[in-house]
């Protein structure tokens, strides 16, 4: 942790980092560039992400916000012909180091996707999947984990009598909370959310938003969203991406009430995007 703090201080001179780092950084990104073939999708990204905070990433379609999120757990590398340069330090270690296994990273950093993607298994097996592949076999412990995770994702009461049913038999909003519970089951440190409510109805969206507020007590959450009201409602800090660059990164209330950059203001007030 010490190295992380020191590096954070050095980095404080960067224009996009905050003047004061109150909480420890979970992720610090330095000079990250990413190409899809010849398409320069992320340009010189510098970003510090705080512990136990909700960080929202906003920006118009194609600005690189989902790409950045997927870079944080290296899922972006599943796309053929991706090249990166620069560094992302997670808890003080560069995730691009060849000694850092992607599986190890993804065990610490969970992800919730845009469309609910439960496994075609029972609800119970969905939640138990993560603990099981990481070697937890004891039935009693698994039972406890499943209940705790489902409670954590605020869906226990809805599914407790149908744990053995296929997860595709429940509604989309419930499926998304199952996916969140599945992520919680291995007690990650960070949760990445890629527009987790864009495929859901308003009530399910509200439930997920409330859940995010509760989860930030224990987890650091990074959420990509198209919905600016959502970013304003649930996040502590907001990063505005445009054409692969971070235009502005600050406290959410500052971004929304008093943005420093004209382009941020234009986007937030709905003048483009």
């Amino acid at each position: 942790m010490n190295t992380a703090t020191i590096k954070t201080k050095i980095n404080a001179a960067q224009p996009t980092s905050l003047e004061q780092v109150e909480k420890e950084s979970v992720y610090s990104t330095r000079q990250l560039n990413l190409w899809y073939g010849n398409n320069h999708a992320l340009k010189n990204i510098d970003l510090e992400i705080g512990e136990n905070e909700v960080t929202a990433i906003i920006g118009p379609s194609g600005c690189g916000k989902s790409t950045y999120l997927k870079t944080l757990n290296r899922m972006v590398e599943l796309v053929p012909s991706v090249k990166t340069s620069g560094e992302i330090h997670y808890r003080g270690r560069n995730i691009f180091d060849s000694s850092y296994g992607v599986e190890e990273l993804r065990t610490r950093v969970g992800m919730v996707f845009q469309k609910p993607n439960p496994f075609p298994k029972s609800i119970y097996d969905n939640i138990a999947y993560g603990p099981r592949i990481h070697g937890i076999k004891n039935k009693k412990i698994l039972d406890e984990i499943v209940e705790k995770s489902l409670r954590g994702a605020a869906i226990w009461d809805e599914v407790k009598d149908r744990l053995n049913e296929n997860a595709y038999g429940i509604s989309g909003g419930q499926q998304q909370r199952i996916c969140i519970a599945r992520t919680l089951a291995i007690e990650p440190d960070v949760i990445l959310m890629d527009e987790p409510t864009s495929a859901l109805d308003p009530i399910s969206t509200l439930k997920i938003e409330e859940l995010v507020q509760e989860l930030k007590e224990q987890y650091s959450i990074i959420i990509v969203t198209h919905n600016m009201q959502q970013a304003a409602r649930i996040s502590d800090k907001t990063a505005f991406f445009l054409n692969g660059e971070v235009i502005e990164y600050d406290r959410t209330d500052t971004i929304f009430s008093n943005p420093a950059d004209k382009r941020t203001e234009d986007y937030i007030s709905g003048r483009f995007g």
Partner: protein
């Protein structure tokens, strides 16, 4: 005077010939479609009638319970089906032991690990393997696999169950690999991503997510392979011998149900003899086996379906 389009349409609707053709087409299509159904019914009927004739000469109990198959004996011919069933099961068993692990491993490799370039080369090669005539496989078993096996295990005879069993297995590998690969490739990428994002390794995703999700397709491919192995004729006729035996010996000559039918068909058993009718009874038994396989496949794939 110009006629409007609507009027033209109304006029052509009035034409009588067109109306008649419209009515005839479904009837015609129905008749064409019935050909395949009627053929099937015809085959089954012939099979049943001749089988019934066979059972007027040989008691059903002897056929089902008997463990000696001696159709060519001058006096006291015996028709107990079990030696032929055992022969078939030996071949099928070896074939499945060879084909299932190799076929499914190949499918996992192709769908989860192989790059597009590798897949572009390997899949057509597999399909070529599926197109090799079975008579070639038969010679391959007799003139290559058997001598190789004999050099390791001298107790193996020239006609045996192991070599044709292995070669039947090789024959059905492409079918199992190709159909399983199709089933696994159609598992949505989002489900894999979900597992990868939890820190699963590639193999954990393949074995715990993709294979279970594609299990109904994989089982269907195995059962399909199984019915081909049961019905396989050429390879066993050439390389397995013609000695119906009711024992657990794999190293010597055996006879399968299909090989018996070939033996009688190409010999000179006259029309109307008991031996002539016996091939229908054996054929009917074979038919029951493959039908049972198909029903089993349907049940299994429903039972193991993971819906997505």
């Amino acid at each position: 005077m110009r006629t409007s389009v609507q009027e033209l349409i109304a006029k052509s609707k009035d034409k009588k010939s067109k109306k008649i053709i419209e009515k005839l087409i479904p009837v015609l299509l129905f008749l064409i479609a019935s050909v395949s159904v009627l053929t099937t019914i015809g085959i089954v009927l012939t099979l049943i009638i001749e089988t019934v004739t066979f059972f007027t000469r040989v008691p059903l109990s002897e056929f089902i319970l008997g463990t000696t198959w001696l159709p060519f004996a001058n006096s006291g011919a015996q028709f107990g089906i079990w030696p032929l069933i055992v022969g078939t099961l030996k071949i099928t068993g070896i074939a499945i032991v060879v084909a299932v692990p190799i076929g499914i491993s190949a499918a996992i490799y192709l769908s989860e690990y192989a790059s597009d370039n590798v897949r572009r080369v390997v899949k057509p090669v597999l399909e070529v393997l599926a197109g090799v005539p079975t008579i070639v496989y038969g010679f391959f078993a007799l003139t290559f696999v058997t001598p190789v096996l004999q050099s390791f295990f001298p107790e193996i005879k020239i006609f045996n169950a192991i070599s044709p069993g292995i070669v039947v297995g090789i024959m059905i590998i492409p079918m199992i690999a190709s159909l399983s690969e199709d089933a696994m490739s159609s598992v949505p990428k989002s489900i894999r991503d979900g597992a990868l994002a939890m820190g699963s390794t590639k193999f954990e995703v393949a074995w715990k997510i993709t294979v279970p999700a594609a299990l109904s397709g994989i089982i269907a491919s195995v059962v399909l392979g199984l019915s081909r192995a049961i019905g396989e004729t050429m390879i066993v006729s050439l390389a397995a011998g013609s000695t119906p035996k009711f024992d657990g010996d794999f190293t010597g000559s055996i006879q399968t149900m299909t090989a018996y039918i070939v033996q009688v068909s190409k010999g000179d058993a006259g029309y109307g003899t008991t031996i002539y009718y016996s091939i229908y009874a054996v054929g009917f038994t074979l038919f029951l086996f493959t039908m049972a396989m198909n029903i089993l496949a349907g049940y299994m794939s429903k039972r193991f379906r993971e819906e997505y």
